[in-house]
């Protein structure tokens, strides 16, 4: 990664993140209860007023380790513009390819426990941005932030040092690339896949009346004959219909994936992929040409790219 990038990122060291970030809600019993239920924490000082009154706290307190929850942004999206220094730094790291994030270290000090009605706000400083490190997750930079939490009176109630790793998701090794799903080969369609392995796109033909048909099946729909043979297609056709698949993604395929219904010049249609073209440029009716693609040692399938000219 270029020195200019790291210099730009490092310019954030020592910078305050921005104005104090206030919690959306005051410390309240509902959020404490949800937390304790999810964590399975049965400590009565968090949820049982009577037991809490008898405790050293003299009343309900929030679990100290719940600290960050009081100022979390929640599901609200970040504003598109005008973010704070942390947002700016994250955007710089994102732009350099370090798009994933994982928290690695957290140190919290509690100066006092929080009570119902306390309203926290957080101020943060970006402490450091590490050199690029190789990690099990991928190459990345550790970003360390220090935060102070104040209550509604401005009293410092807790402090935290938090470290995250911003990293590039590891490149998938080619050996790990999953294979395309295998077709379900039957005695009716085996010729099609066998032909593809030999570089031929075969069409089933009725031996009695000469009708072509696809997908393969045992009986002619026109004359009901069970006798058939095959003819080799020229590989020329046009795009009859298509969809561009973005989601859900199956690892063996590249996305966006153009799934097309190809009208062969012989008259039959088959489902295939349209390749070698920007999905945005695919149009119904465009002339196509066969390209046999060997996906691995066992699987070769007909694909189509735009016809030249």
């Amino acid at each position: 990664m270029s020195d200019a990038f790291l210099e730009k990122a490092r310019s954030f060291e020592g910078r305050d993140v921005g104005p104090a970030e206030p919690g959306a809600d005051a410390v309240n019993q509902a959020m404490i209860r949800h937390w304790c239920e999810a964590i399975g924490d049965t400590n009565p000082v968090y949820t049982d007023p009577e037991a809490a009154r008898r405790s050293v706290h003299g009343g309900i307190v929030a679990p100290p380790v719940m600290l960050q929850a009081w100022v979390m942004r929640g599901v609200r999206p970040r504003p598109a513009a005008g973010g704070n220094a942390r947002d700016e730094l994250m955007a710089i790291l994102d732009a350099a390819g370090f798009t994933s994030v994982v928290a690695t270290d957290c140190e919290q000090e509690y100066h006092r426990y929080l009570r119902l009605g306390d309203h926290l706000s957080m101020t943060s400083t970006i402490e450091s941005i590490s050199d690029e490190k190789k990690t099990a997750l991928g190459a990345g930079h550790f970003v360390t932030t220090r935060s102070d939490y104040h209550d509604q009176q401005g009293e410092l109630v807790a402090s935290m040092r938090f470290r995250i790793l911003k990293f590039k998701p590891g490149e998938r090794k080619t050996g790990d690339q999953p294979k395309r799903p295998r077709p379900a080969v039957t005695q009716d369609n085996a010729f099609f896949f066998e032909g593809a392995r030999h570089g031929q796109l075969l069409i089933q033909r009725c031996k009695s009346c000469g009708e072509l048909r696809h997908p393969p099946r045992p009986m002619c729909a026109r004359c009901r004959s069970l006798e058939w043979d095959t003819v080799e297609a020229t590989g020329r056709g046009t795009l009859y219909s298509f969809v561009v698949n973005h989601h859900p993604q199956v690892p063996a395929f590249d996305y966006p994936l153009v799934v097309g219904l190809v009208q062969l010049e012989e008259g039959t249609r088959l489902v295939s992929n349209v390749i070698g073209v920007d999905p945005a440029d695919v149009r119904v009716g465009m002339p196509l040409e066969l390209e046999m693609v060997a996906f691995d040692d066992e699987l070769t399938l007909p694909q189509f790219h735009p016809a030249p000219g």
Binding site: E37, P44, A69, C106, P169
Partner: protein
């Protein structure tokens, strides 16, 4: 289950071992704890996006790990124990279907304060290692 009575400072000794806590990491647990901590990062609830970001599945967020460390300590120490500092480092992610087993040992005590070394391990290795400093009452009578 949190002890109903709190340990007294004088009853705790360096080398004491905390009762083990086994946490079955269901998918529901990972999502519920993330949401209870108001953490809506997709890697904690959306398997597809978690995979795109280089993870094999969704994984527990660090706020919840803190939550389990806190629970593990007061389950042992009791309701009058007061946590002063929690310092943790994350390692192997907590993925759904795994189990995290939490263990701890008292490593230091002075002036009413006790320091406990904690560890939460799953089938991949140590998910969390760290230390917790807590204050215990001198006399619980």
């Amino acid at each position: 289950m949190t002890a109903t009575t709190t340990l007294a400072y004088d009853d705790v000794n360096v080398g004491d071992v905390l009762p083990e806590l086994s946490v079955p990491l269901t998918r529901t647990l990972i999502v519920a704890t993330a949401i209870a901590s108001r953490d809506y990062q997709d890697v904690h609830h959306d398997p597809g996006l978690a995979q795109e970001r280089g993870s094999k599945d969704i994984f527990m967020n660090i706020l919840s790990t803190n939550g389990f460390v806190g629970r593990f300590i007061t389950d042992w120490a009791g309701p009058d124990a007061v946590l002063e500092r929690v310092k943790i480092r994350l390692g192997a992610p907590n993925y759904p279907g795994d189990t995290m087993v939490m263990t701890g040992t008292v490593v230091e005590k002075h002036d009413g304060l006790v320091e406990v070394a904690v560890k939460g391990a799953n089938s991949l290795g140590d998910h969390v290692t760290g230390t917790v400093r807590l204050a215990l009452p001198r006399d619980t009578t």
